[in-house]
């Protein structure tokens, strides 16, 4: 926090721009009636977060944020929305439960208030930190991050690969239709199960 007193006008402009992108996009996600509009507002938020990453010298993470989130995750969301055909508008005006909205807003206000209160009370910096600074020289962010991931965090990185394999296998098992049993099957009431409604892969 040594640098906190030396704000410059460009820094403030970049921060305000990123913050506006984030907040407007997030509000759009939960207000939009059409899921496609929600997904596009999500892109706005993700780009805003990437802007703030760059402002905080996390260059590599900003690039990954744009590539993975805006490039892959949101495209997958849009693909599923179009695939399922749920891009009709939801009526956001009728409340399914009485008092759900006011209660939710109250809870969230309490949540944010307590987070901010905790943050303002806490003594943040503690312990000896560490090993590698985020920037030990010009344009060293990627090198430092790579060094940290492949030395200090090597075990977590390897576990990550197992997680990705599990996710891929799980998605395939969930999404496929069974090709093994082609004989007509019946459910517990004796009605034949149509090919469009069963997904045996998920039962196992």
């Amino acid at each position: 926090m040594v640098l906190a007193t030396s704000m410059t006008i460009p820094d403030i402009l970049v921060f305000v721009t990123g913050a506006l992108m984030i907040l407007v996009g997030a509000a759009g996600v939960i207000v939009a009636k059409n899921p496609v509009h929600s997904a596009l507002c999500l892109v706005l938020t993700l780009f805003g977060v990437a802007v703030l990453f760059i402002e905080q010298q996390a260059d590599f993470l900003a690039a990954v944020q744009v590539i993975v989130y805006a490039g892959a995750v949101v495209v997958m969301f849009l693909f599923v929305i179009m695939f399922l055909g749920v891009d009709r508008t939801e009526d956001v005006h009728d409340e399914p439960l009485m008092g759900q909205r006011p209660l939710a807003i109250g809870l969230v206000l309490v949540l944010v208030g307590s987070i901010v209160a905790l943050g303002s009370e806490a003594k943040w910096s503690g312990g000896s930190h560490s090993v590698v600074g985020i920037n030990q020289g010009p344009y060293q962010n990627v090198a430092n991050l790579g060094k940290a991931i492949f030395t200090t965090y090597l075990f977590a990185f390897e576990i990550t690969s197992a997680l990705l394999v599990i996710a891929v296998v799980g998605a395939v098992v969930l999404a496929r239709r069974s090709m093994i049993t082609n004989a007509p099957r019946t459910d517990s009431l004796g009605n034949p199960l149509g090919a469009t409604t069963d997904f045996e892969g998920a039962d196992r």
């Binding site: 010298q57 939801e90 956001v92 991050l145």
Partner: protein, 101 residues
């Protein structure tokens, strides 16, 4: 680089709150998923802020792993949504109620 980190932390708290609000009030499963992504992004923003404040690359490494977990979560979650939609033809959380007592 010289914005006080408290600004970023308050912004991340607001983003997390908006995401939580979306999960609580929306009924479309896909939009609830997007709100979970918003909350994850609030967490990553906090990590990067502390990484800069403490001058420690570990926070950015954590964000890297959060990104991987988020991608895996979206893959499995959307697979579940597709499977439910095939069986019930709805993406509305209130109508997926067959497990209630």
């Amino acid at each position: 680089m010289s914005i006080p980190s408290s600004w970023y932390l308050i912004l991340a708290a607001l983003l997390f709150g908006i995401g939580a609000l979306g999960v609580l009030i929306r009924r479309n499963v896909l939009i609830m998923f997007m709100c979970i992504e918003l909350m994850l992004n609030a967490a990553t923003l906090t990590f990067v802020t502390f990484s800069r404040t403490l001058n420690d690359i570990g926070g950015q490494a954590d964000v890297f792993f959060i990104l991987v977990v988020a991608a895996a979560e979206v893959v499995v979650g959307l697979g579940i949504v597709v499977a439910i939609f095939r069986r019930r033809s709805t993406a509305d959380a209130d109508e997926i109620s067959s497990m209630e007592g």
